[in-house]
């Protein structure tokens, strides 16, 4: 008896025909999806090649968009896109953090469910509706605020508006419509629900034990938020913000409806005139010849690569954080 030692048995996995078929079909589905996703990049690159070949490196430094005159580049477009996205994120992140904290920390039970529903619904509202709101509702109400900021804080470079002097009364509010600020605000409203729902998810995973430990040590609610909730949710907050940034960079219709396009770098966010890559594509694709389309494809490819990069970074940040990648 004693010398018979149990040997671990070799397990041989035998799959029957339906299982093999299932795994085959599922893998084929996975491969198809992967192929489609790779095709997106490939086709764009293929179609963008003539324009990129023509323009060379000046594609990234030229501040103009005149493909027929062979003079075009994404320098102004990229700056404009990033500025709009930055304004959007600057507005969306504090709002989302406050709302997510309100939902997880402050709201009474019923309010919580209602708010979660409202936020999720807002994430599903079409962007064209936000565009309508921004153009017809927000613009006329925000222009006086922009004028006030320009008049009193014009000495800060990004708030400077040409033709506005701190001592002169402002002649017309049209200087302040169709600006980067308004476009960014509308995009910010669009990405806020997305960021909020990610943050809420993360904040609700904070271990109750740690929360109660902080309260038991005499911490106030603000203390609990500062020392427990925010450190725990940091990864999710950064990840959610970057996902929102990715959405903001790619937003087309709402931006298109609001801005009046300019093709030089426009760093003054209050001043009328702004541009983004995606709105340029929507603006110009109809009247472009094949070379113009190729140039637009090149711009689209640039945008695509940037959002891809930001999204990769976002998902790796979320996955490495303590709250994990469960959402």
């Amino acid at each position: 008896m004693g010398d018979e030692v149990d040997q671990p048995r070799k397990i041989k996995l035998v799959r029957d025909l339906p299982d093999k078929l299932f795994r085959g079909v599922a893998s084929a589905g996975g491969v198809t999806v992967l192929l489609i996703m790779l095709l997106v990049g490939t086709f764009l690159a293929l179609k963008a090649a003539p324009a990129l070949h023509q323009a060379g490196f000046s594609f990234f430094t030229t501040q103009a968009w005149n493909p027929d005159g062979r003079h075009f580049g994404v320098a102004a477009l990229l700056v404009g896109t990033v500025l709009i996205a930055l304004v959007a994120v600057t507005i969306a992140v504090p709002l989302s953090t406050a709302t997510a904290l309100y939902i997880t920390e402050y709201a009474p039970g019923r309010m919580k469910t209602i708010l979660i529903g409202v936020i999720d619904l807002m994430a599903a509202i079409p962007s064209v509706v936000y565009g309508l709101w921004g153009f017809f509702f927000l613009q006329s109400r925000l222009a006086p605020v922009a004028a006030w900021i320009a008049q009193h804080f014009g000495w800060i470079p990004i708030f400077k508006v040409k033709g506005v002097d701190g001592h002169q009364p402002i002649s017309s509010l049209t200087l302040f419509t169709s600006s980067t600020l308004i476009a960014g605000l509308v995009v910010g409203m669009m990405i806020t629900p997305v960021i909020t729902s990610i943050m809420r998810e993360v904040f609700s995973q904070v271990p109750v034990g740690e929360r109660e430990a902080a309260l038991g040590l005499g911490g106030t609610k603000a203390g609990v938020i500062r020392t427990v909730v925010l450190p725990f949710g940091k990864g999710g907050m950064i990840g959610g913000t970057m996902l929102g940034l990715g959405r903001a960079l790619g937003e087309t219709i709402a931006v298109y409806m609001i801005i009046s396009p300019v093709f030089t770098i426009q760093p003054h966010i209050l001043q009328s005139g702004a541009i983004s890559v995606s709105s340029l594509i929507a603006l110009q694709f109809a009247e472009s010849n094949s070379f113009g389309l190729s140039a637009l494809m090149a711009a689209g490819l640039t945008l695509f690569l940037i959002t891809l990069l930001i999204n990769f970074a976002a998902s790796s940040v979320v996955a490495r954080s303590r709250s994990g990648a469960s959402s």
Partner: protein, 421 residues
Amino acid sequence: MSTIPQQPEAKQRSDVGQPTTYLPQADPDIVTVPQVRRMTGGVRIGDALSLVGAILAALALATIVSSQIAPIRGFLAFFLVTYALFLVIYALLVWLDEPPSVVADRVVAVLVQSGAFVLVLALTSVLTYTVIRGRSAVVHSNLLTRDMTTTGPLDPLTSGGVSHAIVGTLIQISIALAITIPLGITAALFLTEVPGPFARFTRTIVEAMTALPSIVAGLFILSSFILVLGFDKSGLAAGLAITVMMLPIMIRAADVVFRLVPSTLKEASLALGAGQFRTVLNVVLPTARGGLTTAIILATARGIGETSPVLLTAGYTASLNRNPLTGPMVSLPLAVFEFVKSPEPTMVARGFGTAVVLMLLVLILFVSARIIGSQDVAKRARRRQQRKAVRGVVAGLVSRFRPATADVATSSPTSTRSSDA
């Protein structure tokens, strides 16, 4: 003996032999006040007063600032200044009679609550403003039944409509769903059921593609389907563009749902001798059904609202086109976009009306997703049992009141048995 020194009487009587319990007697000299449960929450009058005082002071100060020091135009600017002043004054008031940690707590509470309030206010204004502006167009039923073939920009709202856009939206989203649902679910099953480095790679790519700018999806279809393969701009092309945009969203949501299926259920099925395919078919898919439906509906809502891929691939038409293979086909968001580009107020009103129709469509989808998503397996089973019980009772009643047949004597035991079933 020494264990109960406080009760000498008990020691004296211990020789009786019977173990007895003595209850301590209440001392009549001590007057006991009934304990009142203390309120740990609630509002102290001082806190409420400092809040109200801060609001009043901020309003007054903002009026002075805006009228005397730095003139402000518009309500929004006035509100912002008031808010900033309110924060400072409130912090100051609390600081007068509370320690700094409480000051921080109050300020954070105000910031968080007002942030949430502003967001809800802004989002509500998006909805209400659209509905208010679209009201004049929505009340005319021809918005839903006519197309724009014979309607010019100057025609009143009683002529023309967006039936062509509604049909177009439905056709395009059907094409997208016909591809997205089977392919998306298969791919999500691949990610969870056939794990390995390749599945991990695919998952990374899919997750990165969820932020694919929708205009890039349109550009892709424009460059491949229309320019390289030589098809026209059509409903099919728009459907494909929406597919490319929806597919990563769908896969990611389905992947999360599949990962939430308890592994114990799957292991139980495998332990009973079922193969992987049987397990997926009989355990994974039924368990995930509610979540999958929610994922599909939410992806549909996203797909319906997308304008930019359709703008690049569908073309624009004012007439009804039921054929997705040839000719341009307009969708609801695209129609909104084209209407409001017009300078005519009636066209803009029509655009808002179309936006209301679009939002209603999204709302219906969203609410149905909520209802389906809130039903888990347990709830479904309970309802099935309730239905069964009701059916049993009904069957019992029916058999009881059935007109007397040959075996009247046995009818009543039968009915009790059927109602038990």
